[in-house]
Symmetry: C2
């Protein structure tokens, strides 16, 4: 009997009405004999609301307690979805990350999945139940503490479970797959029929919200194809798998709320250790002869001010640029081998009167850091010029 | 080093400001060298809000999923209190019911504590940490499922932990102890300096909200004295322990949202089995020659309508009285041995022009079931006539 892991994000289960509709879709899928395991995120803005409570009681909330707090979110949505399914007469049962056997590292707020031991999930599926699993969370293998996988971690939960269950993996969100840019920003954006793992990783790392970067890495490792679809839409999808998209340039993505740390290359080890103490991971590191550049997202750092203060105190030679900073990236497999795309990006930025604060080109991506306020104009301008 | 278990109810941690104040109080207590274990309920109306979500997706929410859902409430408050303490420089750590070793029966929504194995709690206390424990929840000893202890179950968590840790037990709420009646209803109500376990059990069963009846039973079993105090008030308290209060009549309490089932005595076993299938427990059972009376609280029954429907279908000879029904009770150790208090209650009810729908007298209590709308007038009237 075929098994599928479906993941529904926060906006797909934002209220009781939507939870009922998701239950309807899941029930239809289960009715054709498929064994269905559903991974859910917290309802709508629950995670942000909980985070805001934490920030009200603590300047820099301890990450262990933050994980304890935030995991309440998926517990609520999974229980409600299980109830909605049982209300329709579909046998269902919900499991926390820990109960589902999602074993992780002990890095609170940014744990990585080490192993999945889905005994209870398999048992319940074998009993003909739809299994609902709390996304974004697990339990540390050594210390048995509750952990979270960082923003977007529910995608990782879904891929890891699909691999462990030898199942197909479907990720549902507001949009019917992966687009060449955010359709809300670029009306000309088009859906990509298929996309290579590497392109998707670059797009996700560059700010495309459809799929989480760690989830794609996991899928690549395990050879799992991800089907990205719209929760309440039709069968249109993007399949992310081995290979690459048909296009030279897959898409344009952007990201706000970034920080750049620039410092002498010799101080790099101290800087990385300092970031790690604050649970922050540099998304990019670029070394030149006399200057090193660390780029990171402020979003995943709880208590960024504390990090900034410590940086100023311990590494006075570092320069931090974290005010209104964003980045726009052009991603594609056809970018290496010549500087053509880099030149096109530089020309487009000049035409759009944007002076990048930093710029990086790799075989798969060109990224320019610039004023966050200019991002929508830059994304659309680059899309029109480079893709159409 | 002395150890204390303090329990703070939902209204004591209703918002971020109150959580900060509780942290201040706990910190002060820990500063004098006491080892402090804090049991918290869910913030304010969280449990009711979650319950309302459940009722929106399901007519009769399955109790296993309801427990999964509701336990999110204490997870939020315990993590926030731990953060607030650490923000003040006090080492703290939060544990769920399961992590605290609260082992229960598998009766979802009304589990009973079987055993406490507080290894992690003891270890953290020995490390000098304040330990925050999620009240109201545990894990079933056999099936390892998340369970809840029913309304007011956080008191039970506190008493059970105090017994397991050989600690003092302090229960904090809006009022400074146990009063002879609800001071919001009866301005003349007075605080009782001390109260016997049995009196407190009767008062709690009769609707006094200060302490949970199961918690008092547990305390009696283990010989733990409970100190009931005001969260943000002074040192005034009521000590609930062995013995009895100094008064003939300890207090008057009332309860709304009740149901009475009356039926031929021969059908009693079926009726009790039916209640159990719906997770309902009869608070009282009274048998006469030709009629049996079951009294229960609708509050603890999730999906009361389903119970009522099944009762009408399976036991058509049963009569259900569940519309606007309440009860007023007079509690005291001096009630047995004569009918004096019963006569006084009956006279007072007649003066107050209340015709009870049922009436029961035991050595410790006289209870009259009547219109819920009349309860405030009856409580005050009985208090003035019988106590002062």
């Amino acid at each position: 009997m075929p098994t599928v892991v479906q993941k529904y994000g926060g906006s797909s289960v934002a209220d009781v009405e939507k939870i009922r509709k998701v239950a309807e879709r899941v029930a239809a899928r289960a009715a054709d004999g498929t064994r269905v395991c559903v991974v859910v995120s917290a309802m709508g803005d629950t995670t942000d609301e909980l985070l805001s409570l934490a920030k009200q009681v603590s300047g820099a909330p301890p990450r262990r307690e933050l994980d304890m707090l935030l995991t309440a979110g998926e517990r609520i949505s999974m229980a409600l979805l299980s109830m909605a399914l049982q209300e329709r007469g579909v046998p269902a049962i919900s499991f926390t990350g820990s109960q589902s056997g999602i074993l992780t590292t002990a890095d609170h707020a940014s744990a990585r999945v080490l192993e999945v031991r889905p005994f209870r999930v398999e048992q319940a599926l074998a009993q003909g139940k739809v299994v609902i699993v709390a996304g974004f969370q697990g339990v540390s293998r050594e210390t048995k503490e509750v952990t979270t996988l960082g923003r977007g971690g529910s995608d990782t939960t879904a891929v890891a479970l699909a691999a462990a269950l030898s199942a197909d993996c479907e990720i549902y969100s507001d949009v019917a797959g992966v687009y060449s840019a955010d359709p809300r920003v670029v009306p000309e954006a088009r859906r990509l029929e298929r996309l290579g793992y590497e392109e998707m990783q670059e797009l996700a790392a560059a700010g495309a919200k459809v799929l989480n970067a760690q989830a794609v890495e996991f899928a690549k490792e395990k050879g799992i194809a991800i089907h990205a679809r719209s929760t309440f839409g039709g069968p249109e999808e993007t399949v992310v798998g081995p290979g690459a998209s048909a296009e030279r340039i897959a898409g344009v993505a952007s990201q706000a709320d970034l920080a750049l740390v620039s410092l002498p290359p010799a101080r790099m080890p101290q800087a990385l250790a300092l970031l790690e103490r604050h649970g922050a991971v540099a998304a990019e590191v670029h070394l030149q002869r006399d200057r090193a550049l660390l780029a990171l997202s402020k979003e995943n750092v709880h208590g960024f001010q504390a990090l900034a203060d410590e940086l100023a105190r311990e590494l006075p030679e570092a320069r931090l640029d974290a005010e209104g900073l964003g980045a726009v990236s052009v991603v594609g497999t056809g970018l290496g081998g010549s500087h053509r795309v880099l030149r096109e990006v530089a020309n487009a930025l000049a035409e759009l009167k944007a002076a990048p604060r930093a710029l990086v080109a790799t075989p798969l991506r060109v990224t320019a850091w610039c004023d966050a306020a200019a991002l929508p104009v830059l994304v659309r301008g680059l899309h029109v010029r480079l893709i159409g």
